[in-house]
Subunit: 345 residues, 2 copies
């Protein structure tokens, strides 16, 4: 990768952060938000949104737009980029409460902060769910403020609604422990992390049907690869990069790709005893979690997931190779594949 190949991501991030800051400032001036209750909700939404890091989803909107229009000013995607970041805020707030994950993005999850602030678990959870609902209403407003010049009326809105429906079905599968983990992750993550942002960017640029199809074909393996990397980082990663404790997937008893691989590979159930000991145990200590990680490595599950990850990365790159995209758009998308699936990020 050439030096400076990612400077467009820095530019996109700056645009979107500025738009978000302006938007929150305007919302604080809304008469409906006047008073301590309004401030509490906006603080919760803004607080989590603004410690959002790399703005990958906004970058995907930009790359989707660039793939179908090499020349358009990148500012055209700013409102949609801000909308997908607020969609992420909405989903994280609700998910963290459902999963009882108290840490997020290097700080307290919203429901945990509000529980402590209000001194009441149910009231904290209620205001957190409202804050998530508000983030979603903000996302829709930002989407409504974008201009989609070459597509018919409600197409972008219809698409955004369907993306949300997919995520919610995936989250229900996750909560209820559905056995088809690949399908769950496709619905829960690929939909709004890769396909949604890429196609909204493409709609901004008036994409052809062939371009939309190619972006959807690209989004699928990229989204799965991103989720596999997330599963690996959740167990073998670095807490500082992760923004929450390592091992929380195990403690929550989540059926991640690592667990599915381990069940397939470990012929002797004794090998997975350290995993079983922590699985679904909220109070498991770090030492036992580390022992579980060692067991997942020794039974070959880590290697199996890394191999699958590499295959999905190659599949995404293959789609790019033949896709009817602009040169610059293709370069941006290649950069994103690397950025979203590297081990260290």
């Amino acid at each position: 990768m050439a030096m400076g190949a990612g400077s467009w991501m820095t530019e996109v991030r700056a645009c979107v952060e500025r738009r978000l800051e302006e938007y929150f400032a305007a919302k604080r001036r809304d008469p409906a938000a006047d008073g301590p209750e309004g401030t509490l909700l906006i603080d919760a939404v803004e607080g989590l949104t603004m410690r959002g890091g790399k703005r990958l989803r906004a970058a995907l909107v930009a790359a989707g737009l660039r793939a179908v229009d090499e020349a358009v000013a990148i500012e055209r995607m700013t409102s949609v980029g801000a909308a997908v970041e607020l969609l992420q805020t909405y989903l994280l707030i609700h998910d963290d409460w459902m999963d009882q994950d108290d840490q997020r993005r290097g700080g307290q999850a919203v429901h945990a902060a509000l529980r402590d602030r209000l001194g009441d678990t149910h009231r904290g959870a209620s205001v957190a769910v409202l804050a998530g609902d508000m983030a979603n209403a903000y996302a829709w407003e930002l989407l409504a403020d974008a201009s989609f010049p070459n597509v018919s009326g409600g197409a972008a809105f219809h698409y955004f609604a369907v993306v949300q429906q997919d995520v919610l079905f995936g989250q229900a599968m996750d909560i209820l422990g559905a056995s088809d983990v690949d399908r769950m992750q496709r619905l829960k993550t690929a939909s709004y992390t890769t396909r949604g942002p890429l196609l909204l960017g493409a709609l901004l640029g008036g994409a052809t049907d062939a371009q939309r199809r190619a972006l959807a074909d690209f989004a699928e393996p990229l989204g799965i690869a991103f989720q596999l990397r997330d599963d690996l980082l959740g167990t073998f990663g670095d807490r500082a990069l992760l923004g929450k404790p390592v091992g929380n997937d195990l403690r929550a008893g989540k059926r991640t790709s690592l667990l599915v691989a381990a069940e397939r590979l470990a012929t002797d159930p004794g090998v997975l005893a350290p995993v079983t000991r922590v699985l679904g145990r909220r109070d498991a200590d770090d030492e036992h979690v580390r022992a579980a990680a060692v067991a997942l490595e020794e039974c070959g599950a880590r290697q199996a997931v890394e191999t699958r990850l590499a295959e999905y990365v190659r599949a995404a790159e293959r789609v790019l190779h033949d896709a009817p995209f602009s040169m610059l758009g293709r370069a941006w998308l290649e950069h994103l594949v690397s950025s979203m699936t590297r081990r260290s990020d």
Copy 2:
């Protein structure tokens, strides 16, 4: 009121119910919904939506459209009518969980039914919040499928997003016990119950600015009157008509208009002792709740709220008198004032 003056409401209800039935049937065929988790979510959303009764909000969409276009086929409002009914489903599901109200529309509230079904309070609440989120995503999809021929791109979507923001601020005020009850009810109820549906209907018909202003001026007193009637029914109503136990506002400790009036009127605090005894007590029995209702009547709070209700009804009727609406639209709106603020409904 002439015989048959409300037959248009029957027609609107039939259109919207048919649209909702078709919509849910289509959603069940969506591959993303395949499996028990998808069925559980759709059952929850459809179950509560279809026992929805009079479809007042859909009728307001129809009357808003009719006010600005005397001749248009009423089917033009069907998708928007279905959207506002699903918005209502979304808000009821989240509110009932927040308020811990286990009864709604003559049956179990969604979080209560899912708690019993899944045998776990948190999991039931999580799937209920997801079902509310799904109802909202459905509402947006239905809105995106409507056609707004004479308004610029995102106007209806922007407006729907702002209505939701108002409701959420109002709900935060309600949960956190804000002292300004009038403002809370304006944000929480008038926004999505009257103003939102009326103005979406008007946008469908390409309303003039003067017509939109008049509808907003009409929506405000009508929304407050509707809420005052709701407060009265919640304490003095009939359980069968209410669809949930009488006295739940008291048991939940809600600052309703009745309570605010009672605090103002009762110079001797002893008069309100029966109210204080049940206020915020989930386990208060029916006999004590009835005694509280008697105290609210004897201190003059009931009469004070009924007087205010009548004033707001007159205010709404005054706006109608001078508004630049079609003759038929005005008649429909008059009918709605009566239907939404009568004691017995």
